[in-house]
């Protein structure tokens, strides 16, 4: 994975979450306390995942090829987890 590819994933994820929050702000936290808490948990998890991607990006950006801390496979898993979390977030809307 190149730094540019990763930068695109980070950018897309951030924009997606921002748009999701802005467009659906009125829907957030409608319903049970449990639903609100779950939405908060998911958004926090996505934030953590994006932090991991940014850390990895910093490694790639410095052109250090010895990657013992995080493997590309780990990063692909995190990207997959972001997708799943976004999907879970959408499913948690109270409609």
């Amino acid at each position: 994975m190149t730094a540019l590819t990763l930068a695109n994933v980070i950018y897309t994820s951030k924009v997606f979450i921002l748009e999701l929050s802005l467009k659906n702000y009125e829907k957030l936290q409608i319903g049970s306390k449990y639903t609100a808490s779950r939405q908060e948990d998911i958004l926090t998890a996505i934030d953590i995942y994006i932090d991991i991607l940014e850390y990895y990006y910093y490694i790639l950006d410095n052109n250090v090829t010895t990657q013992t801390a995080l493997l590309e496979n780990d990063i692909n898993n995190i990207i997959e987890l972001i997708t799943q979390a976004i999907s879970a977030f959408k499913d948690s809307y109270y409609v």
């Binding site: 953590i48 991991i52 850390y55 052109n63 010895t66 801390a69 979390a85």
Partner: protein
């Protein structure tokens, strides 16, 4: 007198660091001194011959262990000094934090949103402190670096 324009990057496994010249190639031997801010350790390395060629190249020079400094390099702020003929002596501070960064990120990889909130708060706090470490390195603030590093190392 000319001025050094270099980049220093710690390796991910903290066993070495990369030093690269970003300006006109330097042809005279360079004396590099590295000193740990808190551990009272220091060492000297002379960049010469093939090392000098690597230093001037686009990939830079990888320097492993230096006598006088523990290896892998413990997380700390390090003072670097470079000197050579015809150049102003360069002194700069760099924060190395790959050891704690490595463990924090590995721990974060296992986080799932349905897990305990306490775990989430711990991971969030560690990531926040890690980000502070990077900021304090970028802004060259040794005091903030040490405070954040200590906090990060003490979190259980």
């Amino acid at each position: 007198m000319s001025t050094f324009n270099i980049t220093i990057v710690e390796a991910i496994d903290a066993s070495s660091f990369n030093i690269k010249n970003n300006d006109t190639a330097i042809t005279t031997d360079i004396v590099l001194t590295i000193a740990s801010v808190t551990n009272a350790q220091s060492g000297t390395y002379t960049i010469t011959g093939t090392d000098l060629t690597a230093f001037n190249s686009i990939n830079g020079l990888n320097i492993g262990s230096i006598i006088g400094i523990n290896n892998p390099y413990p997380d700390d702020m390090y003072d670097f000094t470079l000197s050579t003929t015809g150049y102003d002596t360069l002194s700069l501070s760099m924060g190395f934090y790959q050891v704690i960064g490595d463990s924090t990120m590995k721990e974060s990889l296992n986080y799932r949103y349905y897990q305990d909130k306490y775990l989430r708060d711990i991971i969030n706090e560690k990531i926040r402190l890690l980000r502070n470490l990077r900021y304090s390195t970028d802004t060259g603030n040794p005091q903030a670096f040490q405070q954040n590093l200590l906090q990060l190392q003490n979190i259980r």
